[in-house]
């Protein structure tokens, strides 16, 4: 029964309460993921100069790839550049916190790892950083997902996720894919 204008507005207000409930559910689920599972969108306001990236201490060529940092954390450092990733393949263990750090010397790139939540833009001027734990093993694709120029299509890397017992870093703490791709 909604004949007079007030009755119509009341029905709309009741509906607005339903809408509010939906938003509350979504916001709560997001908060749960953020607080209980430490899920955030990757955000890292850490500068690195793209013009001198190859001269920087961290993102020099010999320093790229997976390694165990002095504090025991697994960190992979990669360069996204027109039109490839350096290195082109990285190896990482499952069920262990890993950090991926990306930088670019040229234009905007982006990465995702197929079948996982690993996803970030790689913006010149910043270190793009993703903390994650891989839950399954396999050779996953890591393509560039932001248009970066005519060679964008060929810009794909491999993330080799292995069981912890197969993750064997060398004496310096480095682990590489070897010839595998």
């Amino acid at each position: 029964m909604a004949i007079n204008e007030q009755a119509i507005l009341n029905s709309e207000l009741r509906w607005a309460a339903v809408v509010g409930g939906i938003i509350a559910v979504i916001v709560s689920a997001v908060l749960y993921a953020a607080i209980a599972m430490h899920v955030n969108p990757p955000s890292n306001r850490e500068y690195v100069d793209p013009k001198t990236l190859h001269l920087s201490a961290e993102f020099t060529e010999a320093n790229l790839g997976t390694r165990i940092d002095p504090d025991g954390r697994v960190v992979a450092r990669l360069i996204a550049t027109q039109f490839e990733f350096v290195p082109n393949c990285i190896v990482l263990p499952t069920n262990r916190e890993v950090t991926l750090r990306f930088a670019t010397p040229d234009v905007i790139h982006g990465i995702l790892v197929t079948g996982t939540n690993v996803n970030t833009m790689v913006v010149p001027g910043y270190v793009a950083q993703v903390h994650t734990q891989f839950t399954k093993t396999g050779d996953l694709l890591m393509p560039c997902h932001e248009y970066c120029g005519l060679g964008h299509t060929q810009m794909i890397a491999t993330v080799k996720v292995v069981p912890p017992e197969q993750f064997r870093p060398d004496a310096e703490g480095r682990a590489a894919c070897g010839d595998a791709r």
């Binding site: 007079n4 204008e5 119509i8 507005l9 709309e12 509906w15 607005a16 809408v19 939906i22 938003i23 979504i26 916001v27 689920a29 997001v30 993921a33 953020a34 899920v39 955030n40 969108p41 990757p42 955000s43 890292n44 306001r45 850490e46 500068y47 100069d49 793209p50 013009k51 040229d106 234009v107 905007i108 982006g110 995702l112 790892v113 197929t114 079948g115 939540n117 690993v118 996803n119 970030t120 833009m121 790689v122 913006v123 010149p124 001027g125 910043y126 270190v127 950083q129 694709l141 393509p143 997902h145 932001e146 248009y147 970066c148 120029g149 005519l150 060679g151 964008h152 299509t153 794909i156």
Partner: protein
């Protein structure tokens, strides 16, 4: 094109003030045909792009051609089709709703030709291959300056339109003190007001960063700042495109269905909510970007959740309006009224199909905007599916329906049969679903965007192949529908059927037509203040941070 169509006033409103001739007729037809031309080209390019990404061999398939095509597709759809259609529709509503001549028609024609010049500039730049940067403005990859200047001219033309719309409403209000601005005009001006706010971001980016870079005046660019300024525009621009659809939902659909608008007040509130919540939410396009902090991303995620409110309110209000119509036509029971709706009328059918597609597109959008959850789908085909459902599914299908309402008024002829119109709408719906549902599926598996071809020798990618072919079929259906749309309008221009002397523009009335309204529901002063405050809170520091602690800049990569 022969004589001008004549209009008669809607029942129960003041008599028409002019001699009854629609003065904006040629202006509207010109704008809408430019929009349709761009749309048709973009549809055909879209099919070729799907073909190129499929396992099938596509002709002329090179990376350079692909990115040229994607750029043309995006620019034609997002900037040309929308802007010209919205301008044309705005002039149409201003005269038919206010029943006054639109002020500054010569200025409107000037803006039209300015926009045409801009479109030609941008189109030639794209064809030359020196603007293959897609339709987004993301330096350091920088196109030739002609591309950007051309698009700036289109935006300037739209600003002229905004001012004309605002001025038309103000003039009407002074002539009709204390009266409610008709909802259709209120909404049109709401879009103009929102668009002026929206374009501040992209205009700043273009004028201070991108165009100087394209000209070679600066060799470096602050990439984070440019992305942030573009994001300012990137969400609200979608609502700029969507506004005509919502205008049709509120002011055309209820009448076409044979009933009344359930609530005029809720319509006004929905349009106001679009103005205030579509702007301070653009950072959700940068959720995966490193240059913004979690806190601001969360704040804007929260505000994005609120922008679902006007859409969900609209769903209810329009469904209730449909129920009123269905019951007036004899429907009974909880669902019986659905059957009695006149589904043979294009506006009714289009609204129903638009809601179905909005369900999928909006549902995908709720997932995209959910903070960390965006990582699951960012820059995958899922997102492509989402915005094609919103754009193609809600925006464009209602543009069709609006054109089918405007054309009899503009040509003075009625469609001999509704069948080709309804077939066209059904084809569009089927094509859109067939194209986008596989994209959701492959996107969840990680199929990424913006590449010219897939390497189907990879087993994972090979498993997507059949789905890509299915979506190609959807694309072909869409292209057929687009061509049928053009055909439907052309036949009306060429029809030999007699012109009728009087044409009524079928705007819906509310169950309770508004009397004297609060100033806030009859104008935009308050809402402009609120937008300013919200933008300051949501975007103030995220933009200021680039000046407080300037990040290292990147070398411009020019494409010419």
């Amino acid at each position: 094109m022969a004589t001008l169509a004549e209009t008669i006033p809607v029942p129960r409103s003041e008599p028409a003030i002019s001699a009854g001739k629609l003065q904006v007729r040629r202006l509207v037809v010109a704008h809408v045909w430019v929009a349709i031309a761009a749309f048709a080209v973009a549809c055909l390019l879209g099919v070729w792009q799907m073909w190129a990404r499929s396992p099938l061999e596509a002709p002329a398939h090179t990376a350079a051609n692909y990115f040229r095509s994607v750029t043309m597709h995006g620019v034609s759809m997002a900037y040309v089709l929308t802007t010209f259609f919205i301008m044309g529709f705005g002039y149409f509503t201003a005269e038919t709703a206010l029943k006054r001549p639109v002020p500054g028609l010569w200025l409107a024609w000037g803006a039209f030709w300015l926009g045409i010049a801009g479109v030609l500039m941008a189109a030639l730049a794209i064809i030359s291959g020196n603007a293959s940067v897609l339709f987004t403005f993301y330096p350091p990859l920088t196109a030739t300056v002609w591309f950007y200047v051309g698009l700036v001219l289109v935006v300037v033309a739209s600003w002229v339109w905004c001012l004309i719309m605002i001025f038309a409403m103000q003039a009407w209000k002074s002539a009709n003190p204390g009266q409610a601005v008709p909802l259709v005009m209120f909404a049109t001006v709401a879009n103009a007001v929102m668009w002026l706010w929206t374009t501040v971001g992209v205009a700043t980016e273009l004028l201070f960063q991108v165009i100087p870079a394209a000209l070679g005046l600066n060799g470096m660019v602050d990439v984070g700042l440019s992305r942030t300024l573009f994001s300012w525009t990137l969400h609200a621009i979608v609502y700029f495109w969507l506004f005509p659809s919502y205008i049709a939902f509120y002011t055309m659909f209820p009448r076409a269905a044979g009933g009344r608008l359930y609530s005029d007040t809720m319509g006004r509130l929905a349009f106001i909510l679009f103005i205030i919540y579509s702007l301070p939410v653009g950072l959700h396009h940068l959720l995966m970007d490193p240059e913004h902090s979690n806190g601001f991303k969360y704040l804007q995620t929260f505000l994005t959740a609120l922008v679902s409110v006007p859409t969900l309110l609209t769903i209810f209000t329009i469904t209730a309006s449909a129920e009123v119509a269905g019951r007036m036509r004899g429907g009974t029971g909880t669902f019986g009224w659905i059957k009695t709706l006149p589904w043979g009328r294009p506006m009714v059918l289009a609204t129903g199909l638009a809601f179905l597609m909005l369900f999928w597109g909006g549902g995908g959008g709720l997932i995209n905007m959910s903070y960390g959850m965006n990582a699951m789908v960012h820059n995958t085909s899922w997102v492509t599916a989402h915005f094609h459902l919103i754009f193609g599914g809600t925006v464009v299908i209602m543009y069709f329906a609006i054109a089918y309402v405007m054309w009899p008024t503009l040509t003075g002829r009625s469609f001999p049969s509704m069948r080709p119109l309804n077939v066209q709408l059904w084809l569009w719906f089927i094509g859109m679903m067939v194209m986008t549902l596989p994209w959701h599926w492959t996107g969840l598996q990680g199929q990424w965007r913006r590449i010219a071809a897939f390497d189907y020798s990879n087993p994972l990618i090979a498993s997507w192949g059949p789905w890509v072919i299915v979506s190609l079929i959807g694309g072909i259906i869409l292209a057929v529908s687009a061509l049928l749309f053009v055909w439907n309008l052309v036949t009306l221009h060429r029809s030999s059927s007699p012109r009728f002397a009087v044409v009524e523009v079928p705007y819906a009335e509310a169950v309770h037509p508004p009397g004297r309204l609060p100033a806030s529901l009859n104008g935009f002063g308050l809402w402009n203040v609120i937008v300013a405050v919200l933008m300051l809170l949501a975007y103030g520091y995220p933009i200021a941070q680039f000046f407080i602690d300037p990040p290292p800049q990147a070398v411009v990569h020019r494409l010419h």
